[in-house]
Amino acid sequence: VCLNIPGFTLCLKRSVLAPVSLRPPPEKAQSALIGQCFWVFRICPPPALYGGRHTVTLIPGDGIGPELANHVCELFRFCCVPVDFEVVNVDSSMDSEEDINNAIMAIRRNGVALKGNIETNHNLPPSYKSRNNLLRTTLDLYANVMHCQSLPGVRTRHRNIDVMIIRENTEGEYSSLEHESVPGVVECLKIITKTKSLRIADYAFRTARAKGRGRVTAVHKANIMKLGDGLFLECCKEVASGYPDITFDSMIVDNTTMQLVSRPQQFDVMVMPNLYGNVVSNVCAGLVGGPGLVPGANYGEDYAVFETGTRNTGKSIANQNTANPTAMLLASCLLLDHLRLHAYARMIRRAILSTVTETRLHTADLGGQGSTSEVVRSVMKAVQSTGPLTLSI
């Protein structure tokens, strides 16, 4: 609902919540979800919705990014999804930050983006910052959400995993503040602030409540980093006291990884600072079947950027038609949910899941010999068979 007053637009905007899970929620939870949405008065830029069509920024990235981005465009065009992509290319070999700034401006314009991973050459001098990190911190995408679920049809060592990982995305070890005080001695600063820790903890508990999940685990290393992770833990405890219906506990990160490889079913929602989030999310992605299956989402107050969960460039398999498109396609479903095009999201998600269960179509990372285009074609066929009007394949 928007009020056009000369000079600015006043919008009643629903607070950004984490996406719907892969399994359709039971009827009771759905109505509870609607009851949970709260209305906030904000001065915010109008959504890029013109003539009933959304505009979304698309950043192909490097490696397998461009081909997967093409497949997403193909699939959306086929399903007649009312989304137009504004493609912004970011050249990672260029020294200047012009490209990434253009991309950031485009995302500010449109509010939402779908992105592939941009490669960072770590042999370049420290003045060249990671483009992905720059994007996340400039747009203040403070929550990285990854929902790892065991998929039927994918054989893994552990079954029935359903973990939601919420990772602080802007500070912590990724502050990129380093200096060489004396030749041969480098100091790297890890910053933990109370505001950001409270914000991410609040996000985690809100999401847990909205999804009907009963337990939040904070992952930390406060026995060694007493002040830094101690502050994070304090903030989580503070927020937990405001959510008495949700159990809160904490676990040290090395114990967490040990428990994850022996009994991952014990975890529900996990919240943690940046670096531990990186480790834990990659471990969980590996447990459910690999980087080709899990989508990830980065949420901020005003913007949302969707990508593959484990942020791999996949340089070694680029342009060989062997990459697994599932993660990127599921990320595009999260995008559709965010744009409130739920019917399209449900349709495409159902098609993707039915394709993944077919072992014949598994790509190389799942132990099969299928190709990317075969998988996408099969998803399109599955969508067509569900009935709504689509283009011809």
Binding site: E173, V185, V186, D254, M258
Partner: protein, 362 residues
Amino acid sequence: THTHTQSWVTLVLLYVMDATTDYFHSMQTVTLIPGDGIGPEISSAVMKIFEAAKAPIRWEERNVTAIKGPGGRWMIPPDAKESMDRNKIGLKGPLKTPIAAGHPSMNLLLRKTFDLYANVRPCISIEGYKTPYTNVDLVTIRENTEGEYSGIEHVIVEGVVQSIKLITEDASRRIAEYAFEYARNNQRSSVTAVHKANIMRMSDGLFLRKCREVAEGYKDIKFTEMYLDTVCLNMVQDPTQFDVLVMPNLYGDILSDLCAGLIGGLGVTPSGNIGANGVAIFESVHGTAPDIAGLDMANPTALLLSAVMMLRHMGLHDYGNKIQTACFDTIRDKKVLTKDLGGNSKCSEFTADICRRIQDLD
């Protein structure tokens, strides 16, 4: 007559020493720190097994509970320090860190006293102790003195905390050199440096540069670099692709516990700490388990495998292999297993079974 007796005694002594020279040469003294909780019982189990194997090890038991030295600084008792400095090799059981004792963690104190810069954890799948992961055979070598655990933290303003991660050239070079030496001495084919240099460009970049430099001097060993998240991702899907991993402190802590989880947990994982001046302390990394202390229920496998690591470090490979084979055979047989391994035998029965197997092997 005095000189005559003296020379006669000297002659006899010389004869006796000559006859027992071989015995004295190979007999080595090792400082044993039993520790707390289940520490004493598993240490005695290890001593019994070593006796059965007739390993040329003499044990010197010491206690390392911290005492306040002159100047008010906490330090380990001087007799323990003197024993370690003399023997150079130590075997340590689990130590408890009482919360309100005032002194820092005992492990930290030992690390600082002997400059234990490398923590080595070989993770090998134990046949007979089933985990979802099979054929794991890797070694994690972790820098133990600096990195994220430097303990340098400040509150800048109310609500903002900064934690400093320190990476130095010397420490990185030292750990890289140790990793390659270890790979060479233990017939390992590749060393992988684990880092996050795309984000922490200068610090992990320095670590990586030093590893590359050291790799130049070891052309027979393959050197690769991999991002921490890629290692985690691949480790839980296929741990057989990794061999020796070398990394700074925090990543090492997380990854070594991850690998321990792959083979069955801390109750069966050996660990060794290598220090400057040839000092090496081998330890079990599990806790003191005060709830089962004194009940003869403890599992001595972790300490035993650490002791085997110690034997290999000392060059006594035959004894090491013998004891390890006996231990693995006992676990594979599944007849006499302690509670945590899935059986319901006592620690003494488990130990006795291993001793019997060693004697059968001889």
